[in-house]
């Protein structure tokens, strides 16, 4: 470290190389520690329960099979819960991005009197812990009447619609914040040019600004998909029918009922984690881009 003050000459390179090697060894060790819980879960899920209980959980395998996955999938009818999640996540992500992009467009491209107040309100509310609002929200969900095609019990409670609504409302703040920051970086002259060409507000939004916002939208879509997919709390509180639960919340109920041993729990947990892991590995750039886009504004 002290070598930094000297000009980089031949003899200063050697300790540097050593430093680098040491750093790699250190980081590789950290990464192994980091991956271990996940790898252990994978290992556990591939072994039959009978073998782990007779040989001990920390032992070399005689057999590795996918039986636990097949069992978890079939016995617990996981397909159904995945479908429930899909019914909630897809509309929620589409709607929240659509609404947030309009809101962001209006507050970042035009000067209003209430611009700042609204943006601050959105930002503040998106930081609240959900438990702050759950008690009155629960009562509201039980008392707001919703008509049949949208709700089969006349309420928002225990309905996919109710889940979509709360996800949209709760994520709007974050999405608006990110998108308005992104739109502020687009040149102001774009709007003026659009006006000169006789474009309406809607055309300016849909034909000029939105196409330029695509990278931010892609990043946010990736992020929002995982946020909503990973939700445990809202479904736990605002849904009652077990068969209608989205997958992340369903896992906890299934644990006692179907996933009786740790090998099955491991397989079940990994099946549920798989979609987010795949999205992450495939769309890593979007993922990290979205996150830093939301945070480096300050």
């Amino acid at each position: 470290m002290s070598a930094a003050t000297q000009p980089p000459q031949g003899h200063t390179r050697k300790p540097r190389d050593w430093n680098r090697t040491f750093l790699h060894v250190f980081l590789i060790a950290i990464c192994i520690v980091w991956l271990f819980p996940l790898l252990w879960t994978v290992y556990q899920s591939l072994r039959p329960y009978a073998e782990t209980s007779s040989k001990g959980f920390v032992s070399l395998p005689d057999t590795l099979t996918l039986d636990n996955y097949a069992n978890a999938w079939n016995k617990a009818e996981l397909a159904r819960y995945f479908l429930n999640t899909l019914v909630i996540v897809v509309p929620a992500v589409v709607i929240v991005l659509f609404l947030a992009s309009m809101m962001a467009f209006a507050v970042s491209r035009y000067s209003w009197r209430f611009n700042l107040v609204l943006l601050m309100l959105f930002t503040a509310l998106n930081l609240l812990p959900p438990q702050v609002i759950i008690t009155p929200l629960f009562r509201m969900y039980l008392s707001i009447p919703i008509f049949p095609p949208l709700s089969d019990n006349g309420l928002l409670y225990d309905q996919y619609l109710g889940m979509i609504v709360i996800h949209v409302a709760f994520q709007l703040g974050f999405c608006t914040f990110v998108l308005s920051n992104y739109m502020k970086t687009l040149p102001k002259e774009l709007n003026e040019a659009a006006v000169v060409d006789g474009a309406s507000v809607w055309t300016t939004y849909s034909r000029v600004i939105m196409p330029l916002t695509k990278p931010a939208l892609a990043a946010l879509a990736t992020l929002e998909f995982t946020f909503i997919y990973n939700d445990f709390f809202w479904a736990l509180m605002l849904m009652r029918t077990g068969a209608k639960y989205p997958i992340t919340s369903a896992l906890n109920n299934l644990k006692g009922q179907f996933f009786v041993d740790n090998n099955l729990v491991a397989a079940g947990a990994l099946i549920v984690a798989l979609p987010t892991l795949v999205v992450y590995l495939v769309l890593q750039r979007q993922f990290i881009g979205g996150l830093t886009l939301g945070s480096t504004k300050g």
Binding site: L127, Q131, T135, Y280
Partner: protein, 327 residues
């Protein structure tokens, strides 16, 4: 902070030859008065719909939480049965309700652990990865991976490490539940909070790391060079030059850390429904809502405590953002 954005995202395509590109340097946004009536209505709708959703489903319940916290409503009967009882709920909460102080303490410990242990580790890893070595991408991918998992899944994965007879830790230590020196990681109420904090940090560290990494990449390399020419060593350069420049990121990380600590719910709920050493304010709120007796007024008073604590970082963040906007 647009350069941060540009770092991570493909930048917005530059527009050349736009009308008035070289016009006055002042802020020239479109004024309302020049819009047609249809345009104004459309703009109004664009703002009104999202604002309605946020106000009705988030702001209104927040206010109702505060109002209900001064009542003794148990949720039975109509709204006309709501009776105000002044500060009774709060007095009960502070003096009679046993789980309150443990939960409060656990939230504070959670916060302290995140701020003083998890966040510095995240920053440290970001600094290491910022050296631009070969393989940085791979390291980053691995360290960030737990962040994409829900805290519920994190709970399951770590139960497989901690569980009494089937878990990895006790198997590797060679202890079973019949041995005297046996450690019940999640069952012992003096230990389980720390065991859970390790699991939660596994996720939080990666999050903090990515945020700091983005911040570090945006630091002007000239600053570092200047410091080194002035004879600063690596440590001095970091603490005296780089870290102060990271201030905006520090604000964001701090806010996120506090908020995440207050939101902690899933993992404790999965492990033992937030009892026996894992009491948290968030869980007490829900216990009073869907527990045996639905004590809406009383549960709301716990929610208000949670609200008051979270207002600290929220206001701090907003004030900082507004100030930066002004400069």
């Amino acid at each position: 902070m647009t350069q941060h954005v540009a770092e991570k995202m493909p930048p917005a395509p530059p527009i050349t030859g736009g009308a008035g590109a070289s016009a006055s340097p002042g802020r020239r946004r479109r004024r309302f008065s020049t819009l047609t009536r249809v345009d104004r209505l459309i703009l109004l709708g664009m703002v009104a719909i999202p604002t309605f959703l946020v106000v009705f489903f988030i702001l209104l319940p927040t206010i109702l939480s505060v109002v209900l916290s001064f009542t003794s409503w148990n949720g039975i009967g109509g709204i006309d049965r709501i009776k105000f009882n002044g500060l009774d709920n709060y007095v009960n909460l502070f003096t009679k309700y046993k789980p309150f102080w443990p939960a409060f303490t656990h939230n504070i410990l959670w916060l302290a652990f995140f701020i003083f242990v998890a966040t510095p580790i995240g920053l440290f890893l970001a600094v290491l990865l910022d050296k631009g070595m070969r393989g940085t991408r791979v390291y980053q991918s691995v360290l960030y991976m737990p962040v994409v998992l829900s805290l519920a899944i994190v709970g399951f994965i770590w139960q497989l490490q901690y569980s009494p007879d089937q878990g990895f830790l006790n198997n590797v230590l060679g202890t079973t539940s019949r041995d005297p020196g046996f450690i019940d990681w999640l069952g012992d109420k003096d230990i389980n909070l720390w065991a859970v904090l390790v699991a939660a940090s596994w996720r939080h560290i990666g999050y903090v790391m990515v945020l700091y990494l983005a911040g570090l990449k945006a630091v002007d390399p000239g600053l570092r060079e200047a410091a080194q020419i002035d004879g600063a060593n690596e440590r001095q350069t970091f603490f005296r030059v780089v870290f102060p420049v990271l201030r905006p990121i520090n604000v964001v990380v701090l806010v996120i850390t506090v908020i995440e600590s207050l939101r902690a719910f899933d993992i404790a709920y999965i492990i033992n429904r937030g009892k026996n050493g894992l009491e948290l304010l968030s869980i007490l709120v829900t216990n009073n809502l869907i527990g045996e007796a639905s004590l809406i007024g009383f549960g709301s008073s716990i929610a208000v405590i949670l609200l008051l604590i979270s207002l600290g970082p929220i206001v701090y963040f907003l004030v900082r953002s507004v100030r930066e906007e002004a400069t």
